[in-house]
């Protein structure tokens, strides 16, 4: 009914390996499930992706096209995971914030409370400065 990321991985591995048997071995599974998943993928796409022969498989033009796209999807997925890991790292550690007197009693406390609620791992360092000094401090970290 719907394509899965596993099916994309299976297809890419199959294209690399050249035969169902080798691909299944690389994927640490047996041939029958792999065969079924590729068949399901082709059924979902209503398109043959490879031609089965006695000496292995050959990709159809549609298969070649889909191989490139499937790799893109998997690459993008990997990128998403890396980005999340990076974002998680960014939410930890120390966040230094400077502000000026005119904002001290109006917006700062509310912002701090909301931020601490959302990201308790972050250590907030808050300091009041003169505008010119603040600008310089921000540039230097």
């Amino acid at each position: 009914m719907t394509i899965t990321l596993a099916q994309l991985r299976y297809f890419c591995e199959l294209a690399d390996a050249g035969t169902f048997g080798r691909a299944a071995a690389r994927l640490h599974m047996s041939q029958p499930p792999l065969s079924r998943q590729i068949a399901a993928l082709e059924a979902e796409l209503k398109t043959e992706l490879c031609v089965r022969g006695a000496k292995g498989i050959v990709l159809t033009p549609a298969g070649v096209q889909f191989l490139a796209d499937a790799r893109d999807v998997l690459r993008q997925m990997a990128r998403a995971r890396r980005n999340v890991a990076a974002a998680r790292a960014g939410e930890m550690g120390q966040l230094s914030i400077g502000f000026t007197m005119c904002a001290a009693y109006s917006v700062v406390p509310a912002l701090m409370r909301r931020y601490r609620d959302a990201f308790p791992q972050v250590q907030l360092k808050v300091r009041e400065m003169m505008p010119v000094v603040l600008d310089q401090a921000l540039r230097s970290g």
Copy 2:
């Protein structure tokens, strides 16, 4: 254990809807499975993607980042499906091929056989021509 495309769809819909209840309704499912799948996604990423409150959810920075990436993945997946449909269309219909005498008995028959084996839906039209005429015929279709 592994992220699924369904989880990406769920998360995108949740970010759009703002609450689990509305997102579940849009996805034609009940809240509990949606809640579990989002929890599973966060567990897999080892990162909180949104903060649950009494009035709905708010994305964390990591959640905002992942939302953009998840949408990219789903877009790329849709593109892959369209490309396959286009490739399938390209494999049907008629393929006209011209060739010159010197190739007639060597490579052409083998190529034809292999092509017909792979793509039986394509109707092959093969014709022998003089080089100059062939060039002109190719340009005109």
